[in-house]
Amino acid sequence: MATITLKDLVKAYGDTEVLHHVAADIQDGEFLVIVGPSGCGKSTLLRMIAGLETVTSGEVSIGDRMVNKLEPADRDIAMVFQNYALYPHMSVRENMAYGLKIRKIDKGEINRRVEEAADILELRPYLDRKPRQLSGGQRQRVAMGRAIVRDPQVFLFDEPLSNLDAKLRVQMRLEIRKLQQKLGVTSIYVTHDQVEAMTLGDRLMVLNGGYVEQLGTPIELYDRPATVFVAGFIGSPAMNLITVEASENQLKLPNGAYLEGGNDLGKVTLGIRPEHLVSDGIGPIRVTVQLFEQLGANTLLHGVLEGTDCDIVASLPGHVSASAGTVMCFSVQAQNLHIFDIQTGKRIGA
């Protein structure tokens, strides 16, 4: 078990810098999720921590060792790959035992640890099969098993669930979380799925284009997104982002209505989460209905601000329906308004 410290980390391929000055302190036993859209540099960052990519500048430390120059083998880490990377010519047992065998741990101990891991992951019946004789979910568990038998200081996961079907993904997500809490091993988990990120992480690092947009607990990110990007990325359905005119304590919507809040700022981006729009029949946010999506427990309304082409999504409790073209009125509590600088995308105010 160990802390991980990233100091001013930069990665460049030739002249193109793909990660810009990433910094983070990861606590002992913490579960950090790195999340962001495809190509933002998540895997690159993880692979630098693993030692599979060189560090262009900056420092990676595990425990209190600076590991920049250490081989992956010497970093005391285990990694689970997206395609599992199981050894195709070895049985499940050999796959899990390999890392221990290399470290010259004695046979009895290896067997004990492999079988213990197999019990935790319910892999007992498959120990003598080859990877190609397993289902996707079982392979995924073998990859996990290979990581846990090693009893490393750090677990690294690179989108380990993205090849599984939706149901299995939810199930494995819980299992990974439980396992990590039980073992208490510091973990870094890469995903592009924000739901996975929110449910798994003690903290989330949102990456975009090689920059860290925000680092914080899921609740912090949800309640106080630091940038427009995080606001739009975290939460499902995504936050409504509207360009408004902010004058003395008033926000002027594109349809001419006013909301209370803001300062004398000129044009800003206003963010309102769909679930914070309250349908009260009198509110200032008048939305022309286009269609409803019935999700059972709640209903998603898709529409536009009356008289504009500004899209609005609202999440309403229970079953709601109305014909297309009707106008519904919504209001929002002032604490649920998020205001961002229109140029920099940075959050303004509390």
């Binding site: 599979l52 992956p72 083998a73 990694m79 997206q82 395609n83 199981l86 050894y87 390999y98 290979r146």
Partner: protein, 293 residues
């Protein structure tokens, strides 16, 4: 269930395959059948008449100790060529798989020898190892080795093995490199994280995972050493000294065209034909069955 589609009979399909059939018949089937026929004949000493003798030519070969020596020599030669050229190719491919800068130049240079004609390849080695003029005998002399493959049969054998193996390295290299590059990167990376160093990764992962290629190349190299090395041997040693580098194909040529024992030579070539057929069958069987590791 298979659907059967019936086309109206027409000459077109036959016309379309005719050129290929023609080539096969003229250049393969006809000469092969001629060889089989020839192997049943014995000519008189002046080549004026011949007599049909059924299997007498084969009987003579069966009783000929020299033929068995040649057989054995061919097997040793082939094994050495295959092991040497595959071993060298494997090492080179392992390095090529790791280089990042200049990879293309490196690969191109390694592929070149394959484009050299066998006789030229032989000539090259003849010059380099010429006992009076060559650079290698000169250098060997400095470490106290007296090189003369015109007199020393073992040295002559070593020379043709080296020349033949060198020629085949490029081919093996290409297949090995392709095989190595088809191993998923992440498997090797996982091994690295598990603690395996480069040598260990090669032994535990790369080598087992390319074993299908190794088998394929083993057959290909055996066929090559058996049949395609004629040019090299002809250029380097002409089978000598004292038949010490005469392998089966060379003996066919020697007995037939130098010794003018056409029947015996034909019988040998028929035996060789069956050998190559066997190897090809093994090869196809294996390729179809797709290896399981």
């Amino acid at each position: 269930m298979l659907k059967r589609v019936h086309f109206p009979a027409s000459a077109l399909p036959y016309l379309l395959v005719a050129p290929q059939i023609l080539i096969t018949v003229i250049f393969f089937i006809w000469p092969a059948s001629q060889a089989v026929y020839q192997s049943f004949l014995i000519e008189d000493a002046f080549g004026l008449s011949s007599e049909f003798v059924w299997f007498e030519n084969y009987q003579v070969l069966w009783d000929d100790d020299q033929y068995f020596d040649t057989f054995w020599r061919t097997i040793v030669f082939s094994a050495c060529v295959a092991v040497l050229s595959m071993g060298a190719a494997l090492i080179l491919a392992a390095f090529a798989d790791r280089v990042v800068r200049g990879a293309t130049a490196y690969r191109t240079l390694l592929i070149w020898p394959y484009a050299v004609a066998p006789v030229l390849a032989g000539a090259l080695w003849v010059f380099m190892f010429n006992p009076t003029l060559g650079i290698f005998p000169y250098m060997l002399d400095m470490v106290g080795i007296d090189w003369n493959h015109y007199l020393n049969g073992t040295q002559a054998m070593m020379l043709v093995i080296i020349a033949a193996a060198w020629k085949q390295i490029a081919y093996n290299f290409l297949f090995y490199l392709a095989a190595m590059q088809s191993i998923p990167r992440s498997v090797i990376e996982a091994a690295a994280i598990d603690g395996a160093g480069p040598m260990r990764r090669f032994k535990d992962f790369i080598f087992p995972l390319i074993s299908p290629t190794t088998f394929f190349l083993l057959v290909i190299n055996a066929v090559y050493a058996f049949f395609d090395t004629f040019g090299i041997i002809h250029a380097v040693t002409q089978g000598g000294p004292a038949n010490s580098t005469t392998i089966l194909v060379y003996k066919v040529f020697n007995d037939g065209f130098i010794g003018l024992d056409l029947g015996g030579s034909a019988a040998q070539s028929v035996i060789l034909m069956f050998l190559v057929i066997t190897m090809t069958v093994v090869q196809f069987r294996y390729v179809e069955r797709k290896v399981e590791y």
